[in-house]
């Protein structure tokens, strides 16, 4: 049965109210910090005040002696992780790094790095106990800036890291953890044949995902190791596996990791910080332990994304055809390796059909918190460089920016610089839609400008499990394993209801804990509607087959003679017999007699994920005296494959745009000369507020992905990629000033304006 034809769909593509909606608008929904368990203790974490320091000694005696303190933990309670145990399954993280991130070993590598923790009978006592833990540090020189960290004389964070990807293997340890390179054709030849070549340098600052819910968990370890973890995360299976390994439990079967409702993640909750610490405290104290991060801790000690330097060189013919493009990307990974520089190398250039291309990336350590994934990790930074540079090139050539993309954009049959040949992609459709969009006809007034930018993200597939159960009354429960961070469980229920042909309200989706459903990889990579959707669809299709079999039994005919349509079993044709159709309640009511409960569970490693492309249009107005930039209008046009629930697809696009605008104009980590974060709060870490944004227009283009039953492509990450360049290009259009360093905050814009256009004292 093919669901790719939109005209046949009755539920998918509509906008029902999400099943978890009432709980969320009445305050009933339970997030990470909303859980209480009897006997619960409050845990708090002691953190390094230094950006780089050897931990000479830790004395916990006074803390242990404080009445109300039930457990104290330090690195001594956490096992080393041998080389063969540093990854688990297909999960991407290095557990040894993560273990030392959760609890520092030997050295504090960033301000805020956890060095000890306590559990006590009240938050106030836990706080007091932290003050009583005596830590002796030997402060070491620190390094913050990415290029400073690459220098030969930089303080080295890890003496056992030698730059990977370089031949021959270096003899000296380095902060450059890895070098990667992608190439196509011959860039030198390409530049030689170009009629214009430009080289530009762009920089970005680290920005945080800034989810409104701080990390939180409650962990309860019984004496026999049976454990309950309640936490807000993007993957309860990841929580179980990582906690088990880092805390030394090595007993996944005994751990029930329950996914709380999650108050935002954007990639930042695809790893853990608290659960292993709470585990150890709970084990030591014999009581449940709750740890909730303060906002300050979230900023100081959880992964932002990289700050970076992106150097782009582009060569083209006068007619706009790019002959060569080269990008060198230097990304901060923070205290442990693993910046998303590889994605940065790939995604920026992937938008274009380039005969010759090269991207070189460096993953660079520095004394900052270990970076975590942030929505299309690596791609927004790389695209800021590439999309700005292509705009600069277009201006030099006098070619309209959209025309530039028409000439050079990726099309079916073209081969990307990183290898794949495009098939069934929608990039050109986004460009065409941008050209036709009414925003382009809105006249621009003084100090106003318009910018265009595009983006690409590959999206992910991967492991998902799903179970579909027909209940005794004919309602349906579908259990899947993906925390719902954006409304995905509604889409799951819609797909199930579509396959069964029953009303959406008769299907109740459940996000199961690790004991209730098979392994499911984390929510992220824009994979849940794709991979999770594939799993629930397959499970439901199996249920339909079973329903047909049961009807056949009830009618005493062959199962081949039964068809399923609009929620009922029918005899397939007049020769099958004339029976009244059987709906779900009728079949479920007799299930015990026809073979037992009606359920199916499916486990897949989803393949066939399809990329997403997008083009954005941004209009700005600049106050040249203050450097303030106002976003006047914004349109995001994206190929989404098939919008299962269009409201939530639009929501992903709008949310990504707002994050990108904040990244462009106002968000940045500000450190002092001692490597201490100066703005660990929402006052001075400035995310866009409601009055900063206009309405965000969305255009959903659907080029279905035939590898997904309903044609879905991932859509959640793509929208954050273009805004920084779209805003920079709009500012350039408005003022003639090209800003290449993020954020494009008012002081920087005013200074750039003054440098090229000296202001007179009186306004004109």
């Amino acid at each position: 049965m093919s669901y790719l034809d939109k005209d046949t769909l009755k539920i998918v593509g509509t906008r029902p109210i999400r099943p978890d909606g009432i709980d969320k608008v009445t305050g009933r929904a339970n997030f990470g910090a909303d859980m209480k368990m009897p006997g619960m203790l409050w845990g708090k974490i002691k953190r390094s005040p230094h950006a780089h320091a050897r931990i000479v000694s830790i004395n916990i005696d006074k803390a242990m002696a404080l009445p109300g303190v039930k457990a104290v933990t330090t690195r001594a309670d956490f096992p080393d992780i041998p080389p063969d145990k540093r990854t688990i399954g297909a999960m991407p993280h290095n557990l040894w790094d993560l273990s030392r991130n959760c609890m520092a070993k030997g050295k504090a590598l960033y301000e805020g790095h956890a060095v000890a923790a306590v559990a006590a009978t009240s938050p106030a006592i836990a706080e007091q106990a932290l003050d009583l833990i005596e830590v002796e540090y030997e402060v070491l020189p620190h390094v913050m800036d990415v290029e400073a960290a690459m220098a030969d004389d930089a303080p080295v964070l890890h003496d056992d890291i030698f730059t990977a990807g370089v031949e021959p293997k270096p003899a000296k340890p380095s902060n450059v953890a890895k070098m990667v390179r992608f190439a196509k054709g011959d860039v030198d030849a390409g530049f030689a044949e170009a009629e214009i070549v430009i080289e530009r340098r762009y920089t970005t600052k680290p920005v945080h995902q800034a989810y409104i819910e701080p990390h939180a968990c409650v962990v309860s370890v019984a004496a026999d190791g049976q454990t309950t973890i309640w936490s807000s995360s993007q993957g309860q299976f990841m929580v179980r596996a990582y906690t088990s390994r880092i805390a030394g439990a090595e007993d996944n079967a005994s751990i029930r990791a329950i996914p709380a409702e999650i108050g935002g993640g954007f990639g930042g909750k695809t790893i853990i910080y608290l659960e292993p610490v709470a585990y150890v405290l709970s084990k030591k104290s014999g009581r449940p332990v709750k740890i909730v991060m303060s906002r300050e801790e979230v900023f100081r000690a959880t992964g932002p994304t990289s700050g970076a330097v992106v150097e782009v060189k582009m060569g083209a013919k006068k007619d706009g055809r790019i002959t060569a493009a080269k990008a060198v990307l230097k990304y901060q990974s923070g205290a442990f390796p693993g910046s998303p520089v590889q994605q940065g190398c790939i995604c920026g250039l992937a938008v274009y059909d380039l005969p010759n291309a090269e991207a070189i990336g460096y993953d660079v350590l520095s004394n900052r918190p270990k970076v975590a994934a942030y929505r299309a990790p690596g791609a927004p930074i790389g695209s800021f460089g590439v999309e700005s540079c292509i705009d600069e090139l277009a201006r030099e050539l006098g070619i309209d920016p959209l025309k530039m993309r028409e000439i050079n954009g990726a099309k079916d049959g073209a081969k990307a610089a990183h290898g794949p040949t495009w098939n069934n992609i929608g990039y050109m459709k986004t460009v065409e839609a941008a050209k036709a969009h009414p925003q382009l006809s809105v006249p621009l007034g003084p100090n106003q400008g318009r910018g265009i930018a595009s983006g690409y993200w590959h999206n992910a597939g991967g492991e998902s499990s799903a179970a579909c159960h027909v209940n005794e009354d004919g309602t349906v429960t579908v259990t899947e394993g993906h925390p719902d961070i954006g409304g995905s469980r509604a889409s799951m229920a819609m797909m199930v209801a579509e396959v069964l042909g029953i009303p959406f309200e008769r299907v109740r989706p459940v996000v199961g804990d690790t004991t209730a459903i098979g392994f499911s990889a984390s929510t992220g990579g824009s994979r849940v509607t794709f991979a999770g959707g594939m799993a629930v669809t397959q499970a439901t299709q199996k249920v339909v087959e079973e329903l047909k079999k049961r009807a056949a039994i009830m009618w005493d005919i062959s199962p081949e003679a039964v068809e399923w349509k609009d929620g009922k079993a029918y005899p397939a044709g007049p020769n099958a017999g004339s029976f009244e159709p059987l709906d779900l309640p009728a079949i479920a009511g007799k299930a015990a007699r026809t073979g037992g409960p009606i359920s199916a569970e499916v486990q897949i490693n989803a393949q066939g994920q399809a990329p997403g492309f997008t083009t954005h249009i941004c209009d700005v107005e600049v106050d040249k005296e203050t450097g303030h930039v106002k976003i006047l209008r914004y349109t995001a046009i994206q190929d989404v494959g098939r919008a299962i629930h269009p409201s939530y697809v639009e929501g992903q696009m709008q949310g990504g745009v707002a994050q990108g605008v904040g990244w462009a104009l106002s968000e940045e980590y500000i450190y002092d000369k001692d490597g201490r974060l100066e703005n660990p709060g929402f006052l001075d870490y400035r995310v866009p507020v409601a009055s900063d944004m206009p309405m965000i227009d969305t255009v959903l283009i659907e080029v279905p992905n035939p590898r997904h039953p309903f044609g879905a492509r991932g859509c959640g990450e793509v929208p954050i990629i273009p805004p920084m360049a779209a805003v920079a290009n709009a500012i350039a259009d408005a003022t003639g000033i090209r800003l290449r360093d993020l954020p494009m905050s008012p002081p920087r814009l005013r200074a750039a304006l003054d440098a090229t256009e000296p202001m007179r004292a009186a306004a004109k």
Binding site: G21, V25, K36, G486, Y648, E650, G651, A658, M693
Partner: protein
Amino acid sequence: MAKQHVSTIINGEPVEFLCEPQQTMLDVLRDELNLTGSKEGCSSGDCGACTVIVDGNIVCSCLMLGAEAEGRKITTIEGIAEGDKLHPVQQKFLEHAALQCGFCTPGFIVAAKALLDENLNPTEEETRYWLAGNLCRCTGYDKIIRAVLDAAAVMRAEGAR
């Protein structure tokens, strides 16, 4: 340190509680009264996730001491709906998909209800500035603003009947 004994009215019901002097109203709601609908996002009054109504004004409950609640009338997210009848703001949030993760939603709903209690015909700009103290990281605010303006329209129409 002696605990404060406080008598107050929460969501129309008389409530008594004991709290330590340094506990905020948010701490009291969440940890003493099991009203966990109000959320802690920042504890510095910058995100609005803890918004409640005190004697008719929206405030950040993280910036109010529990002891200050004595004799006051407080409305939390749990008191916005009447039984199973949702307030128009709640209903419109659902219809417009004005929530994704839902964490900021209680704060927004309380703040928006207070806006509409005062002004049933706010402009888009007035609505955005009224809600500037409520941070949302998921939605980009678009559908939230549409939901509030639509709720206002519904309430105006109901008032006209």
